[in-house]
């Protein structure tokens, strides 16, 4: 009996390690021939062309009939689509301006218009303003379920898990796409990645049976993210490709592929080439950070600094507001820790999430307050999130406080998330 058990354990172990070796090997998942066609299709960018065409139609109409305020909503959606296609922040600000006008025209008493404006605020990380609009919309009562769904989103962003959970319960419906994707988000928030994937797969099945292109694209990219999150990189890759088949201009999916090429395959040259290709049509500051990260991994200081300069230049646009605060704060951790602390404090005030506290504790460490950092970490971060980024911060803080025995399990977890955190960070984890 004992022998049998031992054999069983051994076999299980053997299977486990053998499988592990399989997936951890340098097996190449991506292939240029799968995605090159989508990179080339960048010119001309169809999504952008269509959004522009839409905008021009409604703009001409409202110029002729300035009192037709319903057109303002249409103008806003076309500007929002342009923002998604180009990354140009001006388009998002234009959408906001149209929606403010629309809500003024309707005395801020039409829930669907309030929701549209809230959505634009969420995109800009202006969660408190979104919250106020959504609570008004909820109070008015029409289109109630959409208000509740968005209130869940906002409360989750604001770190109010209790309220988020209460709203999630209000629109519980396992056949509803919107509910399932939020349940997936919620499961991920609670570090239950298996459940998150399960519900996102269910939501995807509904999107597929609805056969609505936008819902399918959205589902595929998010499902791909979750797969990547759980280390199922081949599946992530396939779903990015699936979304590109529907929308060859989808820069988000292209970026996901670039990350696989960099993080899993360590092919820095190809990853950079994909990102540079995306940048030809979609201009968002985060690409420069990715380029900087890759350059640093290559040890190319000059290229890294160039990419960073581009980042600072790109966000030097008041339109971005708080959107890139967290990224910038992380960059300041070393060069200007006081500034990082200042941003982190504001983040904690605006969004008291575990991730905000993680940033706050990290900036405390950077200014040399390691005990205070530890206090914040243990009160607000540990036990509240298992995001690798927060774990890494935790490891630094424990280490700085001489708590090496606490670093060990974190190090192991982080090494297991190697795909997600990327090869540059892994170098650092290995030094822990």
């Amino acid at each position: 009996m004992i022998t049998k058990n031992i054999w069983f354990v051994l076999i299980v172990l053997a299977i486990f390690t053998s499988c592990k070796t399989d997936t951890d090997s340098d097996s190449t998942i991506t292939s240029q021939k799968d995605y090159l066609v989508f990179l080339e299709s960048n010119n001309p960018n169809n999504t952008q062309k269509e959004a522009k065409e839409n905008f021009e139609f409604w703009n001409e109409k409202i110029n002729k009939e300035p009192n037709q305020f319903p057109y303002l909503g249409k103008l806003a959606s076309s500007q929002n689509a342009l923002f998604e296609a180009t990354g140009n922040i001006e388009n998002l600000k234009n959408a906001e301006a149209y929606l403010v006008q629309l809500n003024e025209k309707t005395q801020f008493n039409k829930p669907s218009h309030l929701q549209s404006l809230a959505r634009v605020y969420i995109s800009q990380h202006r969660f408190l303003e979104a919250l106020e609009l959504l609570l008004n919309a909820e109070n008015i009562g029409d289109n109630l379920e959409a208000s509740q769904k968005m209130l869940f989103d906002v409360y989750l962003e604001l770190g109010d898990s209790d309220k988020a959970a209460a709203y999630l319960e209000k629109f519980k419906d396992f056949s509803d796409f919107d509910y399932l994707l939020r349940l997936a988000k919620w499961s991920d928030h609670n570090s239950d990645l298996d459940a998150a994937i399960k519900y996102m797969e269910k939501a995807t099945a509904i999107a597929e049976s609805s056969n609505l292109k936008s819902a399918k694209i959205w589902s595929y990219t998010n499902l791909a993210d979750f797969y990547g999150h759980s280390g199922q990189i081949d599946k992530a890759y396939n779903f990015y490709l699936k979304s590109l088949e529907l929308d060859p201009d989808n820069s988000y999916a292209k970026k996901g592929i670039a990350w696989i090429v960099f993080s899993h395959e360590k092919n820095t040259k190809e990853a950079k080439s994909i990102i540079n290709k995306i940048l030809e049509t979609h201009n968002a500051p985060d690409y420069y950070l990715l380029l900087a990260e890759i350059a640093e991994y290559e040890g190319n200081e000059k290229e890294k600094n160039k990419a960073l300069d581009s980042y600072w230049q790109a966000i030097n646009n008041s339109g971005y507001g708080d959107m890139y605060n967290v990224y910038s704060a992380k960059l300041y951790l070393d060069s200007n820790p006081e500034k990082a602390l200042e941003i982190a404090k504001r983040e904690v005030e605006n969004r008291p999430t575990a991730m905000s506290y993680s940033l706050y504790s990290h900036s405390l460490l950077s200014i040399g307050q390691k005990e205070e950092a530890l206090k914040v970490l243990e009160t607000h971060v540990i036990g509240h999130t298992t995001e690798p980024d927060a774990l890494l911060t935790a490891a630094y803080i424990y280490k700085a406080n001489g708590l090496n025995e606490k670093v060990k399990p974190i190090k192991k977890d982080l090494l297991d998330s190697s795909f997600e955190i990327g090869p540059l960070t892994i170098k650092e984890v290995e030094l822990l």
């Binding site: 076999i11 053997a14 299977i15 053998s18 499988c19 399989d22 008493n109 039409k110 008015i140 009562g141 029409d142 289109n143 109630l144 379920e145 797969e201 995807t204 099945a205 597929e208 199922q232 081949d234 599946k235 396939n238």
Partner: protein, 187 residues
Amino acid sequence: MKSIKILLTATCLSVFLFNCSEDDVNDRNFATSPEGEPIEQFDGTYTLEDQMARPAINTVFVNSGSKDTFNTTLPADMGSAFQSSFEAKLLALNPGYTTNALGLDAATFTTVLATDVLTVSLDGTTTFFDGTNVLTGRTLADDVINVELLLIFGGPMGADNPGLTNDNVDANDKPFLNSFPYLASPW
């Protein structure tokens, strides 16, 4: 040891394949239509999300905060649920309302409106209102908004509140077709 290795490889391979497989393609059973064309199975339960009969009733008469409810209340239950709020709304819109061109007082008129169904004659002219026939259907060309405005604001002779009884948009911007599918081709 060798056999175990082979076994293990097989296990891993199947795990891998399982992980990699795309969502199973739904096997759809096919039935046959009256014309002999193969059709798919249409199973599942469909649940009410929105409904409509007469134009603009929800927009005009349903109070904000009740629009979701109105959209999912069965017509047979609408009268008791909405008549009184419709009447209050009518009198708020037109405080001077006595009767309208159909000779209906506020209670009677809103009783008709609150049960939101469109009555259609199978015996002849179908129109929202053509000067002679009233509420026997709705054609594409009917200026339904003017009819509703007239009945709400126009008073017994249709002459009251002249600024409110005609939106001065009297026809579609593209001619309708005389034959199926009747609606004009898209812009």
